[in-house]
Amino acid sequence: MSIPINDYVTLASVIFFIGVIGVIVRRNPLIMLMSVELMFNAANLLLIAYARLWLHNVGHIFAFIVITVAAAEAAIGLAIVVTTFRPEKYVDVDDIRTLHG
């Protein structure tokens, strides 16, 4: 284990941060979803890195389940995006603002 665990944490944090930026900056729902995937993956990286550190495969199981859930979530998320934006002129979350106040 030559690479310090801190480096993994930093890397995961940076990716997570990029995902956060994606969510709040982009107006395209698909890219927002992708950003969320990035965040999930950052967590996964962390889990696996720590699993290596602790030599404990529960981190792997956790990551495995995260991947599965992410898949399910992507499926539903994309379905929602489709149903939401098919009737719309723009594919732009800013345009979806009937509900407010």
Partner: protein
């Protein structure tokens, strides 16, 4: 460590299994119903499943058992929260009787039941994986449920909920990963380790984990989704969300607070939560003031109400948990009742949730108006309702724990909220003729029964405060 499971393990999650199976049964029954839209069949099957699960869960009460190697703890604490989840589910299912014939009912009922499974999983979950899974199961179902109606606002609410909730879940997940990193374990019970108190990693992990939870509890500033989603989602789903999601999140939060903290750090570690709870009590109630839509109003109200409940846990005393559970139960009934009334007077297009359609309700639907009044009184903490008793108990325990500023915030928030709730009451009882809708919905037996039952319970709970007295020992 034996690596095999006994029947006891499967029995421990029997309520979850029953509810999941009921969801399948609903779908199967729908296959046979063809296109006849037997919405009552779906509802009844779902209800039967819920009731059976409730009985099954009830029988577990007092028989503590750590199923699946500590992954799911049942018997006390979990049972209580499971029952509340089931109550919320049943109340929400009943409301499907008010939406018109729709081919989607079976699917939505099934998904709602599975979502309830997620919440029940959260109630019993004792490790991070189970918590995460329960949360996701609950959320995924809700994303679908929100959008499962042909209405633009519903789809909008689904989208908003999807993006925001996923982001928050990502925070939770990242926090869970950090917690795993700090402890080398995903078991909550392993977190109760004095050496962790000085681990910055643990603090950071707990912080990010709590962000996800607080988002689900919709405390300010993680509340922004709540009003929009509550308003846009179909009424039964809103009711479900207002009760079940919060119950699940609260169960995890309570378990985390009571069970998964190194000794001596609770006050400092959870301080941000108390702060956001205090802010929620104020902002939630203030937010109600300018609302013109009942669902939205109840969303803001829910933000504040959860604040009250969370406040009861400040100090981490057994009494606090007990009173929190009492108030949560009361909250479930009053919210479900309010939504039942709302559903009873609004059609599937849900114009009925506009406050203006409540004008003069007392003359057109006196019983519904009376029931609604009881729920609003309960939400505002006025007697003779459980809201009153719950609030005073929470005040008492908060003061006893020395969180005077939280008690003060609670009082100020309540004072503000009174006005907002009373506005609805006034609209219903004011004598002036409003532009009352001619599209008054006919008598809907199930929803009316639900409202009546909730009203009765809300009042009865004042005089017979049914709280399990020994929950805390069962948390661990």
């Amino acid at each position: 460590m034996t690596l095999s499971f006994t029947n006891a393990d499967w029995n421990a999650i029997l309520p979850v299994e029953i509810v999941a199976a009921a969801g399948l049964a609903v779908l199967l029954a729908d296959l046979f119903s063809g296109r006849n839209n037997w919405r009552y069949v779906s509802i009844v099957i779902g209800l039967m499943g819920v009731v059976a699960a409730g009985i099954a869960a009830g029988r577990q009460f007092g028989h503590e058992y750590d199923a699946f190697f500590g992954g799911f703890m049942t018997g006390g604490f979990a049972t209580v929260f499971e029952e509340i989840v089931l109550i919320g589910t049943a109340g929400s299912l009943l409301l499907y009787s008010t939406i018109g014939p729709s081919p989607r009912v079976a699917g939505t009922v099934a998904i709602m039941l599975w979502s309830a499974c997620g919440a029940m999983l959260m109630a019993g979950a004792a490790n991070l994986i189970a918590i995460f899974l329960g949360l996701e199961l609950l959320s995924l179902g809700l994303y679908a449920l929100c959008a499962a109606v042909d209405r633009k606002t519903a789809r909008e609410s689904a989208l908003k909920y999807l993006i925001l909730s996923s982001t928050a879940t990502a925070f939770l997940l990242f926090g869970a990963a950090l917690l795993f990193g700090a402890t080398g374990s995903v078991m909550l019970s392993d977190f109760n380790n004095p050496s962790l108190a000085s681990s910055p990693l643990f603090w950071m992990g707990a912080g990010m984990f709590l962000i996800g939870l607080v988002f689900k509890l919709s405390l300010v500033p993680f509340h922004t989704w709540t009003p929009d989603v509550f308003e846009g989602a179909p009424l039964p789903v809103t009711a479900f969300m207002s009760v079940v999601t919060k119950t699940g999140a609260l169960a995890v939060f309570a378990r985390f607070t009571y069970d998964a903290l190194p000794p001596g750090v609770a006050a400092k570690l959870l301080l941000p939560v108390w702060i956001v709870a205090a802010i929620s009590m104020i902002v939630g109630n203030v937010g109600m003031l300018a609302q013109v839509d009942l669902k939205r109003l109840l969303a803001y109200s829910g933000i504040a109400q959860i604040g009250y409940i969370v406040v009861a846990l400040a100090g981490g005393t057994p009494l606090g948990l007990r009173y929190a559970i009492y108030y949560l139960t009361a909250y479930a009934f009053m919210n479900l009742g309010a939504f039942a009334v709302a559903a009873s007077i609004s059609g599937s297009d849900e114009d009925g949730s506009r406050l203006s359609s409540y004008r003069g309700l007392a003359r057109r639907r006196p019983w519904l108006a009376a029931a609604m009044t009881i729920f609003l009184l309960a939400l505002s903490g006025l007697p003779p309702t459980a809201g009153f008793l719950g609030k005073i108990l929470i005040l008492a325990v908060t003061l006893a724990n020395g969180y005077i500023w939280l008690a003060a915030a609670l009082i100020v928030g309540t004072a503000i909220s009174l006005y907002a709730y009373a506005k609805v009451i006034r609209a219903m009882y004011a004598p002036e003729e409003g532009p009352h809708g001619d599209d008054l919905r006919p008598f809907v037996p199930l929803a009316w029964a639900s409202a009546a039952l909730c009203a009765a319970v809300v009042i009865a709970m004042t005089f017979y405060p049914l709280t399990p007295s020994n929950v805390l020992p069962l948390v661990r």
